[in-house]
């Protein structure tokens, strides 16, 4: 008996998770700028206001520091808030609350106060929105102990990880890839919560490992398919969770293929890709047959002009050529 499959977009998946959680748990509510009447800046919450009313789908003024802090306070005192920040660049107005409160309260209070808040935001470039709307700062947030960071790169994870995030007793930041909202696919109708921890091999391969997450997942899979045509068998590891990182899965794939390319839309310097590289060097240095290589965003604020933005961001072509270099098959 085959599982029934349903068609949905990444956007629908995010909405369905919230909907599901709100039906099951009356403590869950959504709060953020234009989540209600406007339907969400990326239409993720469209329709939810009609279904749950303005108490639970709460529009806020433009006050990121204020309403993120209020979400944290409500979480400490018995509610299960989902706070939406339109995009990661605006989350910086709430960085104080995220870092100095959400991430520390559990520890500072000696374990007395946990903070079961979910903070969702859109991340990444590719839509010519220039340098104040396009950055990928999730790797940067992954620096901070006390919060969990997830970055779903598939439709199933967009739903399943958000469900788990809402049930988690600690603060979880969910990074939804702007570029993936319209991605459509089929997922099992009964697919539910998936663990917040643990990477997943999306494609088995023998020759090289492509370690990636979030908006880079479809590009990485496309690159792997292109390489296959040339007889190169690439494995694709989707990190899914950026904090904690799944060390074992990273080291396992290195031990299997002995070559690694990391694909990350963040910048290289002081980054998540640097952290992964360090862990490989620490844990599997002698397994490597080639230096670790990285495909990241150029070290520049994202430019508006299309050709410059394209040149700045990781691309299928850049992944393919980096793989060839790592395998010594270029030219």
């Amino acid at each position: 008996m085959g599982t029934e499959m349903i068609k949905m977009t990444y956007r629908d998946a995010c909405r369905e998770a919230m909907r599901d959680a709100m039906h099951r748990d009356s403590r869950v509510f959504l709060m953020g700028e234009d989540v209600g009447m406007y339907g969400g800046c990326f239409a993720v919450s469209r329709g939810l206001l009609d279904e749950f009313g303005p108490e639970r789908i709460r529009d806020t003024p433009l006050s990121e520091g204020g309403f993120v802090g209020i979400g944290i306070g409500a979480a400490m005192n018995g509610m299960r808030p989902i706070v939406e920040i339109m995009t990661v660049n605006f989350s910086l107005l709430a960085l104080d609350q995220i870092l100095n409160n959400a991430a520390t309260l559990m520890h500072m209070s000696g374990g007395q106060f946990n903070v079961p808040v979910v903070i969702r935001m859109a991340t990444g470039g590719g839509r010519q929105l220039a340098a104040q709307h396009s950055h990928s700062l999730e790797g940067w947030y992954a620096h901070i102990p006390g919060i969990k960071i997830v970055a779903p790169g598939t439709i199933e994870d967009a739903r399943g990880m958000l469900l788990s995030a809402i049930e988690d007793p600690d603060p979880v930041l969910v990074f939804e890839a702007t570029a993936l909202y319209n991605m459509e696919g089929e997922i099992p109708a009964d697919s539910g919560a998936v663990p917040l921890e643990g990477a997943r091999v999306l494609r088995e391969g023998e020759d090289i490992s492509l370690v990636s997450y979030g908006s880079s997942i479809p590009k990485t899979l496309e690159a792997a398919a292109a390489l296959e045509a040339d007889g190169i068998d690439a494995e694709v590891l989707d990190l899914r969770s950026l904090r904690p990182l799944d060390n074992d899965a990273i080291l396992d794939t290195v031990r299997k293929t002995h070559r690694v390319v990391i694909v990350d839309e963040g910048w290289k310097s002081g980054s998540l890709s640097a952290e992964i590289t360090a862990r490989i060097v620490e844990g599997a240095f002698y397994e490597l047959d080639a230096p670790v290589a990285r495909v990241c965003t150029a070290e520049v604020p994202i430019p508006y002009a299309r050709h410059l933005e394209e040149a700045a961001l990781p691309s299928v072509e850049r992944i393919v050529s980096t793989v060839r270099e790592a395998l010594g098959t270029n030219g």
């Binding site: 529009d59 204020g66 839509r127 220039a130 104040q132 520049v300 410059l308 040149a311």
Partner: protein
Amino acid sequence: MITTPLVPATGLDREHAHHLMRQMLLVRRFEEKCVELYSATKIRGFLHLYIGQEAVAVGVMQSLLPRDSIVATYREHGHALARGMSARSIMAEMFGKLEGCSRGRGGSMHLFDAETNFYGGNAIVGGGIPLAGGIAMADRMLNRDAVTACFFGEGAMAEGEFHETMNLAELWRLPVIFCCENNMYAMGTALWRSESETNLAVKTAAYEMPSWSVNGMDVLAVEDAVRRAMTLVRSNGPCFIEFQTYRFRAHSMYDPELYREKAEVEEWKEQCPIDTFRTRLYEADLLTDDELQAMEQSVAEEIEDSIAFAEAGTLEPVEELERFVYSEKQS
């Protein structure tokens, strides 16, 4: 709706009246053209139109001198044009061309021009407000007799950066005119749904700052108010003006406009700043049909010329992607 009577045009200098009219027309027609060019995918990214609000930027700029400075938001084409930046440089910017005012790196939301002290297009709501305070502070410390006009929407008044800057500006007597363009909505959020005190001038008066409201649909009222503000700022310190206005179009290029009634939009259109000014000029014998037609003609030519310029523009070579992250000249 605004019920304040319009300032009569009688006694207005004919040439000046024509100047105001032409500037408003230029902004309106420029924006209308942008819509077409967006549909033709010549312009990309977000595109926030100024249609309906023309009287504010045009009215404010009349009192500003070349040494004065401007800080604006992502809805800033009108401010840039009214400040005297060329339609060519703005259009080329939106085409992502090297000849654009920000070399194609900023786009519609990030117009900059050192020549006219136009400090940007800021796309973080409230983000430009502290900058305006700092620009004014530098003018003061360098003994320049200059004023900074800081534009923002009423939505920005919920942000902490706004309140912190208001306090500092008054405390330090910084020469800033805080120009709030209250177009009644922040994306889909109506003023009354975001502010506990909807009388904005009452709110800012708590900072001991001279504060008042003006009909932002009347270019003559705006002009008068800013003339008065300039004197005040030069002799005393900052002031706050709420310009009551309305955007006739969606927040950005498209939105489903679920948050307001069509009838409301139509009602506001009856207060169109261009139509009501034209009527007053006709009545005061300050404008003829022929003159208006000639004006439309020259505006159309200026815009066509800007498009031709943008089309003929060049793309910055990709090799230059990583330029302008740091200064190229050591000062």
